[in-house]
């Protein structure tokens, strides 16, 4: 029950955080691209609950959930959305590029597939030093069509790199449905053809995700080489704030909304976990978000004079 509660809290934090972000986007306090994870919370939450602090994480432009579930403080994430110097990337990255060295979060990457080679390299570092670590690498099913997916799966399987590939199959890559993206019907099966363990998981069930991640991480830490989880999920909202969603119908969205991972876990926690408990949790999360927004609003921006900092390191060879 303690475990479930923690998972629920995490998912609610992500959900409410993003709902607030959407509002802040409408009021133009957040700009750039904003890709919401609403509906997919079970994936980040379940997988990352099984990682250790010394493990590494690589994410995409749809990275709020990964950052929060990884433990990056919410105010640092919110400040980043605001472009403030207190943001987890000092305001230089924005929504798509959340970084946090202290949590070994190696970024939000906005090039589809671009994070996969990085994950392989991080894993190589762990491997060469003989550390029993896991690199969790998140990417969409769309990314699995890119050449880098192939190259990295092959390389990782060949070198038995400790990567946990987490393919968030939310059925769409922007407006492109799975069947228009992939000739093969089953991604996990295809991934398995590289000679690594790969299986599909109900990505709307955080407990199932967690259990799969546990098994996979165990295998990886034991030197079994990479694993791939295909996490079947759905984004309830548009691809980004610009997307008019012409490519899918309301019924389909409604069907998936019925599988809401938060409701599902919450229901499984009845009756021990009461409506009052939920209200308390929601209130706590709301307070955290309010504080994060207030802190972000009050924070400074980086002085323009520092524009050219961090292009290269501040020590010279």
């Amino acid at each position: 029950m303690k475990e479930e509660l923690e998972l629920l809290r995490q998912m609610v934090r992500i959900r409410r955080f993003e709902e607030r972000c959407a509002e802040l986007y409408s009021s133009a306090q957040i700009r750039g691209f904003l890709h919401l994870y609403v509906g997919e919370e079970a994936v980040a939450t379940g997988v990352l609950s099984e990682l250790d602090p010394q493990d590494s994480v690589v994410s995409t432009y749809r990275d709020h959930g990964h950052a929060l579930a990884r433990g990056v403080p919410m105010d640092a994430v919110m400040a980043e959305m605001f472009g403030k110097v207190t943001g987890c990337s000092r305001g230089r990255g924005g929504s798509m590029h959340l970084f946090d060295a202290s949590h070994r979060l190696f970024g939000g990457n906005a090039i589809v597939g671009g994070g996969l080679p990085i994950a392989a390299g991080l894993a190589l570092g762990h491997l060469m030093r003989g550390e029993p670590r896991v690199v969790a690498c998140f990417f969409g099913e769309g990314a699995a069509a890119e050449g880098e997916f192939h190259e990295v799966l092959n390389l990782s399987a060949l070198w038995r790199l400790p990567v946990l590939f987490c393919c968030e199959n939310n059925q769409y890559a922007m407006g492109t449905a799975f069947a228009k993206e992939h000739a093969a019907a089953d991604l996990a099966l295809r991934a398995g053809s590289y000679g690594l363990a790969a299986w599909s998981v109900d990505g709307m069930d955080v407990l199932a995700v967690k259990e799969s991640a546990r098994r996979a991480a165990e295998e990886i830490r034991a030197g079994g080489g990479p694993c791939l989880l295909e996490l079947r999920t759905y984004r309830f909202r548009a691809h980004s704030m610009y997307d008019p969603e012409r490519y899918r119908d309301k019924e389909e969205v409604a069907h998936w909304r019925d599988l809401d991972p938060i409701d599902r876990l919450r229901n499984a926690m009845r009756p021990e976990f009461t409506d009052d408990d939920l209200a308390a949790l929601e209130a706590e999360v709301a307070a955290e978000i309010d504080l994060a927004v207030a802190t972000a609003e009050a924070a400074d921006v980086e002085p323009v004079a520092d524009l050219t900092r961090f292009v290269t390191s501040e020590v010279t060879p």
Partner: protein
């Protein structure tokens, strides 16, 4: 008629597809999504999925497929969502599209048109804000276009398709909503020459694409201060129309190049170098360049603004050049 840059492009594509059934459009989300910048909205309905092809996320494969289809008698228009992703297809563009004609001793021309969005200014951060058209303009065998007006958005696609060789069209993301009047019979334009968008005698401001608006605004500012700036829109980044540029500079004796690309090794360097080579003795002041700061473009608005050429910085550079700053 009133139109927008986006609609003008769409009309140009529609027109080409009606005229020539070898023409088809292919790229990520050009179909049911309507194009990531909505350029192709409605074309799927009109032409069907055979001629408006949604591709998988595989830039190298579908750009290469465009090249192959062009080799095989088709006239593909390939849309790469943005220049940022074109790096994944660069090998196909450089080593195949630009090279096959020469390598085959003249046997295989590649009449492919590749369109992509370019530029910064929308707080999309480092990986989504590149201006790499200058890189492409370095490649022999390509024609590189940068429509900056409604006329050019409407008029460049057809001549690009008629060009027997590969043509790249760079559409600045800040231009899609540009609205204005376009002649009802607007059609193909010359894709070989630069255009003088504003006459002037004191200094020549040379630019293209997304920076044209800012540069024209700077010229207005300058005029208010008594400086008559001439504005040249390069339009074709390769092959460069040096003649027009040099003619202008020989007249004004001063030049500022405005380019949203990074300064070092950018297109601005080429323009400055050519002026120095061909019109050195006509210059009354060093050529100035107003470019993006040499940083990965940051997300925060104030930093992004500071990183890019702006009306004020363009005007300031022009003043310095004229007044000996």
């Amino acid at each position: 008629m009133k139109t927008t840059y986006r609609e003008a492009l769409r009309e140009a594509i529609r027109d080409a597809m009606r005229r020539d059934d070898r023409v088809f459009l292919m790229g990520e989300d050009v179909g049911s999504y309507g194009g990531c910048y909505a350029v192709s909205l409605g074309l799927l309905e009109e032409f069907g999925p055979e001629r408006v092809r949604d591709t998988p996320l595989s830039e190298s494969a579908f750009v290469g497929a465009g090249i192959g289809a062009a080799l095989n008698g088709m006239r593909p228009i390939v849309e790469i969502m943005t220049v940022n992703f074109s790096l994944l297809a660069l090998d196909q563009i450089l080593n195949n599209a630009a090279t096959l004609l020469h390598m085959s001793g003249g046997q295989f021309a590649v009449p492919v048109v590749i369109r992509m969005t370019t530029g910064a200014g929308r707080q999309l951060a480092a990986q989504h804000s590149h201006s790499l058209e200058g890189w492409y303009a370095h490649i022999p065998g390509l024609r590189v276009l940068a429509p900056a007006t409604l006329e050019d958005a409407r008029g460049m696609v057809w001549p690009a398709l008629c060009d027997p060789d590969p043509v790249l069209i760079f559409e600045h993301n800040g231009l899609y909503n540009l609205a204005g009047e376009l002649a009802d019979d607007a059609g193909p334009v010359d894709i070989t020459r630069a255009a003088v968008r504003r006459p002037g005698r004191d200094v020549t401001l040379i630019t293209y694409g997304g920076s044209l608006t800012k540069t024209l605004a700077a010229a207005d500012d300058l005029a208010a201060g008594g400086i008559e700036a001439e504005v040249v829109d390069l339009r074709t980044l390769r092959p460069l129309d040096s003649d027009t540029v040099l003619e202008c500079v020989r007249k004004t004796h001063r030049a500022v190049v405005v380019d949203e690309g990074w300064r070092s090794g950018g297109l601005s360097a080429e323009i400055a170098a050519r002026i120095g080579e061909e019109a050195l003795y006509d210059l009354d002041a060093p050529v100035r360049r107003v470019c993006s700061a040499e940083v990965p473009i940051p997300y925060a608005r104030h930093l992004e603004e500071a990183a890019l050429p702006q009306t004020a910085s363009i005007a300031a550079a022009a003043r310095e050049v004229v007044r000996g700053g």
